[in-house]
Structures are given as structure tokens and as C-alpha cells.
Point group: C2
Chain length 370, copies 2
């Protein structure tokens, strides 16, 4: 009884998980987290109309979702002032990144990203045997000039930039992003991950230009819209590239309840505005807590605050471990020198209080450990 | 502004849709279907406890789902008398088939299926540049002997068989399936699609043997459990192969609401038994309607009945079109000679009445067209 041989690429891949989920950590700890501040989920949650719509839609779950996500694409097109044929709806940005890499990357093709940027993008590039090249952050920001230079140097087909950035929270203005697009070498596609764009300053997003084949923009209902568990992301690009996703995507892959929920979320812009206000308040609170404990909060255009613990990665890892010990789910950047920081998601006062209560002890423990 | 070049495989692929969804047809028709009998969705729907659980879980949709689907796997393991490490939970069987093909198939690798079997499997094989070989149905059933012979002849890495079969509704007994597994050439993996197994006779499923590396079995909550829109499928195989899915799967791809719903569905086995009874009644009713109109219903181990229209594919396509014209969503096999049939999903009496009312006129129209 001989087992089937895996493909050449699959043979070389580790059975790796880009992120260990909080539930896994809870099972390992043997107890639940008291605050979930590590995955930049939106603890404020989605609009009540989303929850109501999803609850109603549960009755329709015997039906497949519309494989075209027609209604959602129509609403998104209207919202953004573009046409539906420039939009691809998919199973979160994670799913869309996977499809994109598969569409574009042959084994050995060059891809450029920042060292320490979104690991799931790297997971997909590795998964299709692309070759990752990285440039360092510059002043805790992704560095558009270095990314473009590297892309030119290695002949990259894809270059990844998140604006705002995760895990640092930093962002660039629209002009900087547009200049980056205009400087791209011929044949390089910018993957502009705008997962956190709704919580960024208004001048962070360039105008949409869906005639420009040099950029694909990724958006999501997971962050500001508070629907991480629903797996709804979308890409905005040329109609030509959007159509190409039909070559590889899982056509019946969208959950019907999620489609309905995302549509309701989009239609409740007043709620989004309200949540953005709450997130801004929470960012300020997190910054205050950081400063009160001798840490340096970094400016954030996202729903989290990254805090410089003032020493090296070993120290920050101790702080993180001590917070986790106290029942707080928190994460941190994993590449030096950004790994001197911890990253804490925004949330309601109760969660902020828990973090405020836990941080002094965590720092004490970490300092005592030397 | 040069656009990015697609990968070698993607360049060759059509931007094709394995199935046109009913919503697309409704938009083209300009009116909604009055009965949705074409996708073998379970119109009886999921357990009330599923709907209630999903509605409750909607409040938690701000959280990502557990990337390990730990609770669902634990419950499935208990239900099937196996261990959780033999189970892969994924975004429907469609999603799992895609991951499997990606894990195993290098460009040019041989794959065997039946001509006219599940198109989405073929979509994935084409999508990873596998080479499809097919054998014909035999007496409207997939032909295990011919499939194995062809697999040996072409050195196939994967051979696909659905038991029960879609689109014909036919099934094999467990002994036939086990004999097929035992006859597989070395290094060939049987993809045993058991999407419809819950509605098949009890002797259709072989015992689970998760030490056997020659077979992977695919199950779903989309059919008997009535949750097509939730996208929850699972594969049962060796722990070794199950672990390999972690190389390529979208780790955070499962909807949290769907995970909760599937767990609730599994826990309500009395409801499943009730629905199986209703499906059996509906199969009988569909067979009666077919016979009353001079068609021959084929035996079915599924939640649909395939009906021989007694002539060729052109005639059956006319009947289908006439039913669609009357507002009924129905599909049909697309390869001769199976395309002499139409395929109608089971459902409550109201839906059966609509089909009963529409069929005579559809046949009249089709016969008049000659």
C-alpha cells in the first residue's frame, strides 16, 4: 500500500501555520483569554443590522451563495464609484492573496515584500514556489522606494505593501503610494493591501483608477467592519485582471450568510463612522497606557497600537509572554528591530482596562527576569 | 503601463465557471425561480438548532474562526469513531478538492475520472495542469473496474469516484468500493466523494480505515445536513495526508458561524434521520411524477432523482429549457448518453407540486418542437 507522492512544490513545503490562533493557545494554556487583543479583530463588532441580517440569512443557509456575489459587488461599486467588473469578492484578503499569487507566480518568479510584513502573503508565495525578496522597514514604515528598487533589481512580478501597515500601524499618504505606483518597473504588479484603510486618515488612499494595470487593491470586512469570522474580502483592479480570477477561484466558495452580512455592513456607513470614532478613542487610550508605563506608542492608522518596549526583541517577547500569562491575547512583530514592540488591538473600555491592569505587572516580571 | 504576465498555467486557463448559479440565471431571465431544484440543495433545510446556533454565532462574527476547527473535528471524530488527526475541515468539498489537487498534481500528471462526473473536480485538475483521462459510465453508474484499469494504464496519481454518484444518483455497495480500493495501482489515491452518502442505503459506505493511504473520503454539510451556503466540508484520510493539507490550505478560511452551525448539525442526528425520511418520500414522489409523464426515474441514493426523458440529449435539453421557462431551476447531465436525462432535487410537497404541474407542459412543448 504505497501512498501517493506529493507534487514537487508540496513536497518541499512545511506543514506550517502562518499564525497560531488564540483558540489553540487557549487549549495549550488550559484556560480562556480574558481579552482578545492579538489579531486586530474589531471587538466593537459589526453593526447591529449585520448581526440581524446574518441571523435572518441563517434560515437560507440551505442555498449556496451567489457565485458572482452580484449584489455585494454592485453595492461596493456604487460605494467606491467604480464598476462591478473591477471587483473580485473572495474569502477574505487571505483567500484573494492566494488566488492572486497562483494567477501570477511561476516557480522561481521573484516577489518583493518588507521583512516582517504580512506572513500570510509570504505563505502563499512560498506555496507556489515564488522567490521572496525583502527590504527592511525604514523608521517603522514600509519603504516604498526600497520596495520599488528591489522589484526592479530582481524583476519582481509582485510587490506587496500594506497601507496602513500591519504590524507597525504606520501609513503613507496617497501621494506617496501613487508615486510608488508610477515608479514601478514594467510588468510589476503592486499588491496594495488596504485591510486597515477605513481607520487610516482620509488622505491615505489614492483615487481609484481601475484602468491602471499596475496595482491591485485589497479590502476587507474583517477589520473596521467587524466581520473577521465571515471571510469577506474584495480586490479592486482592472476588469481584465478581475476576470482572470475566474480561472482559479472557488466559484461557490462564499458563505451565503457572510455575503448578506457584508452587504448590510456596507449599507450602514453611520455605524462605520461611529466605530471609527471608538477606535480612535481606544488608540488614544492605548497610547496613554503605554506612556504611563514608560513605553512609546507608535502612531497608528489602524485598529491597533504598536508599542515600543524600549529594549530588544528578547525583552518584548518577555513582556508578551507575561501578558499572555495574565490571560491577554496579544501579538508582536517578529522581525528585528520591529520586534522590540508589542501590538495591541483596540477595543471597548473593559478590554482597555484589562490591558491597563496587566501591563505594569508584565513589565515588572520582564524586568526582573533581566 | 504594462500589465503583469500571468503564470504559465493561468495563461492557458479559460476564465470559466464550472456551474452557472441560479441567481445568474434569474438575472438573465429577469425573474426569480419559483422552485430551486437544480443544485441538489436540501430544501428541507438544516435543523432548527443549526439556524438558532448560527443566529447566535452571528454576534461573534467579529472573531476569526478557529483555524484548527478543533471542536468540529473532535465531534466528527467521535461521530465516525476515528481520531481527529485523520480529519481535514475545509471550505466545502469544492475547497478540499482544490487543496488536494494542488497537494498532489504536478503539471502533466495523470488523473482519472468518469466522463460526465463532477465538473468542479475537473476544474481543479485543469487548474493545476493535470491531465484528465476519463472512462464512460456503465449502466448509468460510475465504473470502478474501468476507472482502476484506466488509472493503471495512464499511471494516475488521483482517481475520482463519487458514491453515490452525481449527476446520476446511482451508487455502489461498500464491498464494490473496497474492492476498488484494493485493486488500485501502487501510488494512486482514490478520491472518494461521499457528498451524498447520508442519503444512500446503509451498505454503501465502507468501514473507515484511516491507516489506508490509498483513499481520501470527502464529506459535506451541504447536502443531507442542509447547509450548502455555509461551506463546510471535511476529508477523512491518513493522519499523514491530513497534516499535508496544512501546507496549502487557507488556515483562517473557515467562517466562524459555519463552524458553529456544522457542529450543531452534527449533534442533531434525530433531525438528520427525519430529513432522510423526507428525502426518501420526495424521491418516491419524484419517481411517481416522472412515471406519470412517461419518463423513467433512475434509482437514487441521493437527494435528487435523475429522469430518463426517453430520447436524446437534444430532447432532454428542450425539456430542461421548458422547465426553466416555467420558473423551475433544474439541471441535467451534460455528457451523452447520460444527457438524455434531467436531474431534479428533492424537496417539500409544495416544490414537488410545482414540478408536477410544470412537467406535462414542458414535455408537450419539447415534443411539439420535434
Amino acid at each position: 500500500m504505497k501512498k501517493v507522492k506529493l507534487s514537487k512544490i508540496a513536497e518541499t513545503l512545511p506543514a506550517a501555520v502562518p499564525f497560531v490562533g488564540p483558540e489553540t493557545q487557549e487549549r495549550q494554556r488550559g484556560s480562556a483569554f480574558t481579552a482578545r487583543l492579538g489579531a486586530n479583530e474589531n471587538i466593537f463588532g459589526p453593526s447591529p443590522s449585520v448581526i440581524e441580517t446574518m441571523a435572518d440569512a441563517a434560515r437560507d443557509t440551505w442555498m449556496y451563495g451567489d457565485p458572482e456575489s452580484y449584489d455585494l459587488k454592485a453595492a461596493l461599486a456604487k460605494h467606491h464609484g467604480i464598476t462591478p467588473d473591477c471587483i473580485v469578492v473572495g474569502e477574505g484578503i487571505d483567500g484573494l492573496l492566494g488566488y492572486l499569487v497562483r494567477l501570477v507566480i511561476d516557480p522561481g518568479d521573484a516577489v518583493v515584500t518588507s521583512a516582517g510584513a504580512y506572513p500570510t502573503f509570504n505563505y502563499h508565495v512560498n506555496g507556489f514556489a515564488g522567490v521572496l525578496h525583502s527590504v527592511p522597514y525604514r523608521n517603522d514604515s514600509e519603504d516604498p522606494t526600497a520596495l520599488v528598487d528591489k522589484a526592479r533589481e530582481v524583476g519582481a512580478k509582485l510587490v506587496y505593501l500594506a497601507n496602513p501597515d500591519n504590524p507597525m500601524g504606520s501609513w503613507h499618504r496617497a501621494g506617496t503610494i501613487q508615486a510608488m505606483i508610477d515608479a514601478l518597473p514594467d510588468g510589476t504588479l503592486l499588491v496594495l493591501d488596504e485591510a486597515y484603510i477605513e481607520t487610516a486618515p482620509d488622505d491615505a488612499a489614492p483615487q481609484f483608477d481601475t484602468t491602471d494595470p499596475r496595482v491591485i487593491r485589497m479590502r476587507t470586512f474583517s477589520k473596521a467592519y467587524g466581520m473577521a469570522g465571515a471571510r469577506v474580502g474584495y480586490a479592486i483592479c482592472t476588469p481584465d485582471l478581475a476576470t482572470a480570477f475566474n480561472k482559479v477561484r472557488n466559484h461557490f466558495g462564499m458563505c451565503r450568510v457572510s455575503q448578506a452580512g457584508a452587504l448590510a455592513a456596507l449599507q450602514d456607513q453611520p455605524y462605520l463612522a461611529e466605530v471609527k470614532g471608538k477606535i480612535a478613542t481606544s488608540r488614544d487610550r492605548l497610547a496613554d497606557i503605554a506612556r504611563a508605563n514608560g513605553l512609546t506608542p507608535l502612531p497608528s492608522g489602524t485598529n491597533f497600537v504598536t508599542m515600543d518596549c524600549g529594549a530588544d526583541g528578547d525583552f518584548a517577547r518577555k513582556v508578551l509572554a507575561a501578558l499572555v500569562d495574565q490571560g491577554l491575547f496579544v501579538r508582536m512583530p517578529f522581525v528585528a528591530p520591529q520586534d522590540r514592540c508589542i501590538r495591541v488591538s483596540c477595543g471597548p473600555e473593559a478590554e482597555m482596562d484589562k490591558f491597563s491592569d496587566a501591563l505594569p505587572q508584565a513589565l515588572r516580571t520582564s524586568r526582573e527576569q533581566g
